[in-house]
Amino acid sequence: MSSENWVDVASVDAVPEGDTIGVSLNGQGIALYKVDGEVFATAGLCTHGAAHMCDGFLEGHEIECPLHQGRFDIRTGKALNEPLTEDIRTFAVRLDAGRVMVLAD
């Protein structure tokens, strides 16, 4: 649909397997993750202490915040433990000709 706003944020190869990087989505920082070749995207900042998620540690589909060890499921954004009280936003991702496309607002 023409109203959907898919934005090219990075090359697929730039996202390391089993890890995370920070990229810009229309000037807003978001985090990309790659698990078994599949790419996921969440908001860039933790909902708790406003740390950068791309500095965190990815284990399977769980990203652990580097500041206070809060964990989110990168597929759903669900907050999995304390001190988190709020889920993190996720973005739809599409891979297109070696590029990571993220659905913006």
């Binding site: 708790h48 202490g49 580097p66 206070h68 060890q69 304390e82 001190p83």
Partner: protein, 420 residues
């Protein structure tokens, strides 16, 4: 002539039997004060922390002290009340600076160590190090276990809306600590009714903390020092009264019933007054209305050793928290409260009568002064002794108030626990 070397004895001993002659050095020695903190505030005793109504919602917290140690009373999301020491396990910082607040967690600002409301350590920044160019730098050792580094947790006792805590997890149950007699006077005020917080008063009194316990174990002084009481008929030495203690003689209740009749007019005319012609301009101050829960007594002052006084003086009820800070000073924090089922008139009446109390109260202002002046007397010559012999030298309960038996009882207990 006394030898000048006797003014500051180097290794004094309490030479007499009994507890009717209290050495001035019991109030002036820093080493004894530290031992009091260890043995009375941090071990074997329950200390007052606050009222549950001060932290009504999950996440609410109140900062207070047990002895000199800063603690935080919190209510966690499951509704439980916790008391934890306000010292970060990382670098020892007293991190919480607000007196009251609402929070999802307890966070030390220095390195952002994050604790749950029950004191569990839940987050350590860069615990797993910091990633840079594919390499992870730093981080805590692999054997670091957050479960070992929660805030120090105190044992908590809740009874009818009042919270006590102890650093000593082997302390006896709260009800046994009070004993049946004092527990009955505790329950007289706190009978399970929902409480309403009316407000606080705080003052720093430059005197030894024990003097405040003594003040409320001393029914000899109110009719003499507090001319406001005697002038307006609220306290007289011939009031019907009783003095009771727990089995250890550390806690006490002064129970008194003000003169017969008790009609407002009778009090205000002041026939028995210290100053007969004096009247209260604002008559609301003496608008006393009997409440059923009092039973017969019109005033019961309960000392719970070492940390708190429960006041019921006619329609004014409060807790008075003793917070020592050195051998010669303590903070005194008054929490005025009422009950959720109070009528608007009773609510107003409690607020008006609260003017008798606190640092500038018509009555209580006197106590802050005499405690300061007592401490001045002790400091100038610690070799002397007080003479606590009104009513005899015994430590028994009394059916009248012309006695200092409660003070003697407290020092008998103090000598046992302190080994002096």
């Amino acid at each position: 002539m006394e030898n000048t070397s006797e003014v500051f004895p180097s290794d004094p001993t309490w030479s007499e039997e009994g507890s009717s002659r209290v050495p001035f050095w019991a109030y002036t020695r820093e080493d004894l004060y530290k031992r009091e903190l260890e043995r009375l505030f941090y071990k074997g005793h329950w200390c007052y922390v606050g009222l549950e109504v001060e932290v009504p919602e999950p996440g609410d917290f109140k900062r207070t002290v047990v002895g000199e140690r800063s603690v935080i009373m919190t209510r966690s999301t499951d509704g439980e009340i916790h008391v934890v020491e306000n010292v970060c396990k990382h670098r020892g910082m007293r991190f919480c600076r607000e007196k009251h607040g609402k929070a999802k967690e307890l966070l030390c600002p220095y390195h952002q160590w994050s604790y749950a409301l029950n004191g569990d350590l839940q987050g350590v920044p860069f615990r797993r190090g910091v990633k840079r160019e594919g390499k992870v730098n730093g981080g805590m050792p692999a054997d670091f276990n957050p479960a070992d580094h929660g805030l120090t947790k105190l044992k908590v006792a809740r009874r009818n809306g009042v919270v006590f805590a102890s650093f000593d997890h082997d302390v006896e149950p709260f009800e046994e600590f009070l004993g049946p007699t004092i527990l009955s006077y505790f329950d007289r005020v706190f009978d399970g009714r929902k409480l309403v917080l009316l407000g606080y008063r705080r003052q720093r009194i430059p005197g030894n903390w024990k003097l405040m316990q003594e003040n409320i174990k001393d029914p000899y002084h109110p009719g003499l020092l507090h001319t406001w009481f005697s002038t307006f008929g609220l306290w007289r030495a011939d009031n019907q009264s009783e003095l009771k203690m727990d089995a250890h003689k550390r806690h006490a209740a002064m129970i008194s019933t003000r003169g017969q009749g008790g009609k407002v007019e009778e009090v205000v005319t002041g026939l028995d007054s210290f100053k007969e012609t004096m009247t209260v301009n604002d008559k609301r101050l003496l608008d006393i209305v009997h409440e059923d829960w009092w039973g017969k007594p019109t005033a019961v002052m309960t000392t719970i050793f070492p940390s708190v006084i429960i006041q019921q003086q006619v329609n004014s009820v409060s807790t008075r928290h003793i917070q020592p800070n050195g051998h010669g000073s303590f903070d005194f924090v008054w929490t005025h409260f009422g009950f959720a089922d109070d009528t608007p008139e009773m609510h107003q009446r409690r607020l008006i009568q609260a003017n008798l109390f606190g640092p500038a109260g018509f009555v209580s202002a006197d106590d802050g002064e005499v405690i300061e002046w007592s401490q001045e007397g002790f400091e100038q010559n610690p070799s002397q002794k007080t003479l606590v012999e009104m009513g005899g030298r015994d430590t028994e309960d009394s059916p009248h108030m012309v006695t200092e038996t409660l003070i003697r009882g407290m020092y008998a207990y103090w000598r046992r626990v302190m080994g002096e």
